[in-house]
């Protein structure tokens, strides 16, 4: 047959040359075509943080994977992708995966965090900083659960224990083609505005600051409802209140108010640092250079039943800071007895890697500042967790807000402002609708421009500016490839292929024999049917 085939092809070549091209070029093209990635299931995964802060690397370094999946109970984990659910997550298992240099770790998070029991949430929150602190080359991904992913997970669970022996069982293979690169620049946006006080030129200034970005173990999952969505919403609310109060002569106070929403807060307050440098070092006159009464930073005010004023130096008698402290105490004692108010004193420690609270940035520049927060300590995990989402943060913001707002207001005037609950919750809803990790907020991000617009409704001189990392000696270096599409396929082990080949060869052999001896078969059948025909 091959001789005839070659004859035919020869004729074809000799007669019409273009025809050969038409026949062969598509064949060649098809042969070299890239392998299509047709997945059983494609899902979005979010990578763990990867950044360098002041030269210190954190988080996971790697992103590519093309491995088989296993559950964490299997013995051999090296070069495999370990899949585990949040309910089964524990630090020892995570360490085990890292020790055996697994190919990757994928942690499946439930779609709705509120279905998780509180102790698991708390445990995970505490583990997040530890996970970040160990720099590892194993890519760690988080994925949100859905049915397909769950079925893949149960399949890996059942197939893992018997991984060696089965030929026909199915495994799951995960694939993700990505390569993490560093984005050495990042511009952090921030915005602010002011309200002028009554009574002349050299009025003292009160500054109110909140940072709007959020932090968590995975940037795309950092919604930061409490930290610091609550702070920003409260800042906007205070801006609204004071702008209203300042329109009436009776309630117009003799203080300038400066409101500032800063970026890069979770990365050692870079935005505030640059803002201070710009205003104090580079410009000639600014509200900050003159008489500053105090700076109040708002940070994490949503949950909880305590209100703490963190200071780096206890305020002396007779200063405006002291007056604020007294006012806050009296307001809380008289109107919100269930809130526990206290002052927490922590000295600034410049030897630490990161600063504790935002007011320390101001303290370094000799501006009196403090931070209002419901957290008693800066080290708590709630400040930097992906578990900090809207559904989890319950309802005492109003009390906190009232306490804080009235305290701040009454320190120099007699307002009767009331907070608007719907406005507060809608601002927090909007803020938590998108992940606000600092890496993701770029020049084009809508968060800063919306904040600017909102502030512009109440304040004057609202400006926006951007902070860029220094090219030669960057304080913070971010890496990209934070959100990927991962593909999972159901595969059969290689043994199966060989087995199949063997079966097919056997089948073909049988067919060959049958056809060769077809005459034999035919005569047998005739013999069987012949008696019937004879008697017919």
């Amino acid at each position: 047959m091959f001789e005839e085939a070659s004859e035919v092809f020869d004729n074809m070549f000799k007669t019409s040359f273009p025809l050969t091209f038409i026949v062969f070029i598509p064949a060649v093209l098809i042969l070299v075509s890239p392998l299509p990635a047709d997945a059983a299931h494609e899902f979005t995964v979010y990578r763990m943080q990867q950044y360098d802060l002041q030269g210190q690397p954190y988080g996971t370094r790697n992103a590519i994977l093309n491995t088989e999946a296993r559950s964490v109970e299997a013995e051999v984990l090296s070069r495999r992708c370990v899949i585990m659910r949040l309910v089964d997550f524990s630090y020892e298992k995570y360490q085990k995966a890292l020790r055996q240099s697994a190919g990757a770790v994928v942690i499946i998070l439930p779609k709705n965090m509120s279905t998780m029991p509180q102790d698991i949430v708390q445990q995970f929150m505490e583990l997040e900083p530890e996970m970040l602190a160990t720099e590892t080359i194993v890519p760690v991904y988080f994925a949100l659960e859905d049915e397909e992913l769950l079925s893949i997970y149960t399949q890996t669970l059942t197939s893992s224990p018997t991984q060696g022996s089965s030929t026909a069982a199915e495994g799951v293979h995960v694939l993700d083609r990505a390569h993490s690169r560093s984005k050495k620049y990042l511009s952090v946006g921030e915005t602010g505005g002011r309200l002028a006080g009554v009574g002349g030129e050299d009025l003292p200034t009160i500054v109110l600051v909140a940072h709007y970005d959020a932090f968590g173990v995975a940037p795309w999952l950092s919604y930061g409802a409490d930290s610091n969505g609550s702070g920003v919403s409260m800042l906007l609310e205070l801006a609204r209140l004071f702008s209203r109060l300042y329109t009436y002569k009776r309630t117009h106070a003799g203080y300038n108010l400066l409101f500032f929403v800063s970026g890069g807060g979770k990365f050692n307050y870079q935005g505030t640092k640059r803002w201070l440098e710009d205003n104090l070092d580079h410009t000639d006159s600014s509200l900050l250079q003159d008489n500053v009464a105090f700076v109040l930073c708002l940070d994490t005010l949503g949950n909880g039943d305590g209100l703490h004023l963190h200071v780096s130096k206890p305020p002396k008698e007779g200063t405006p800071q002291h007056a604020l402290l007294r006012e806050l105490e009296s307001v809380v004692a008289s109107q919100y007895p269930e809130l526990k108010f206290s002052m927490v004193h922590k000295k600034i420690n410049l030897a630490d890697d990161t600063l504790a609270w935002e007011h320390e940035r101001f303290g370094i520049r000799r501006l009196p500042a403090f931070t209002l927060s419901h957290l008693p300590s800066h080290r708590l995990a709630e400040r930097s967790s992906i578990m900090d989402v809207r559904s989890v943060s319950p309802s005492s913001p109003e009390q906190e807000h009232q306490g804080g707002g009235r305290g701040a207001g009454q320190s120099h005037l007699q307002p009767d402002g009331e907070g608007e609950q719907e406005q507060l919750s809608s601002v927090v809803d909007w803020l938590t609708a998108q992940p606000r990790a600092a890496q993701l907020l770029d020049k084009d991000s809508s968060v800063v421009s919306t904040l600017e617009h909102q502030l512009g409704r109440y304040l004057k001189d609202v400006k926006r500016h951007y902070v860029k990392a220094d090219k030669r000696d960057p304080e913070f270096v971010f890496y990209d490839q934070l959100k990927q599409q991962m593909n999972a396929y159901r595969v059969k082990p290689a043994i199966f292929d060989l087995l199949l080949a063997f079966c097919i060869a056997a089948y073909l052999g049988v067919m060959y024999l049958a056809i060769q001896n077809f005459g034999l078969l035919y005569s047998v059948i005739r013999k069987v049917t012949q008696p019937k025909a004879k008697t017919h």
Binding site: E4, P36, D38, Y512
Partner: protein, 186 residues
Amino acid sequence: MTLFHFGNCFALAYFPYFITYKCSGLSEYNAFWRCVQAGATYLFVQLCKMLFLATFFPTWEGGAGVYDFVGEFMKATVDLADLLGLHLVMSRNAGKGEYKIMVAAMGWATAELVMSRCLPLWVGARGIEFDWKYIQMSFDSNISLVHYIAMASVVWMFTRYDLPKSFRLPVTVLLGLCVYKAFLME
């Protein structure tokens, strides 16, 4: 699941044809080119069928669950063209009865294999994902081979004028079955 799997499926699909060709004695008759011609006729017939279907049978707008008996019946009737095509091929080939049948069936089935099964196998079986349907598809092509051989022989028998009357009826029934096979399966 990889090229190896593709090779498996391809072997499963194609080798029976190869074996049939070699062993049925066609190679002695230099029938390769005639098989290719039969294949070309297959392509032509399919094209005509498609044009006919597209022109005269608009898409059925009725509900999802309702099976359009009349429409599908008409569509299946168009498959009669298949039989006509086979008949055409066989009438053009001079030679013994079996030779004609085998040539027509081989060419027809090979063309169908190449056209309707090669591309899915190439695209699908080469991927990482494993699915039983590729093995199924290849096996299906084996069955089609036997089916086409049977169909061709029934058509040939139908056109023989010296056929005993008693055989007419079963032959006609079998022919009808061939055509409406897809329809009856539904």
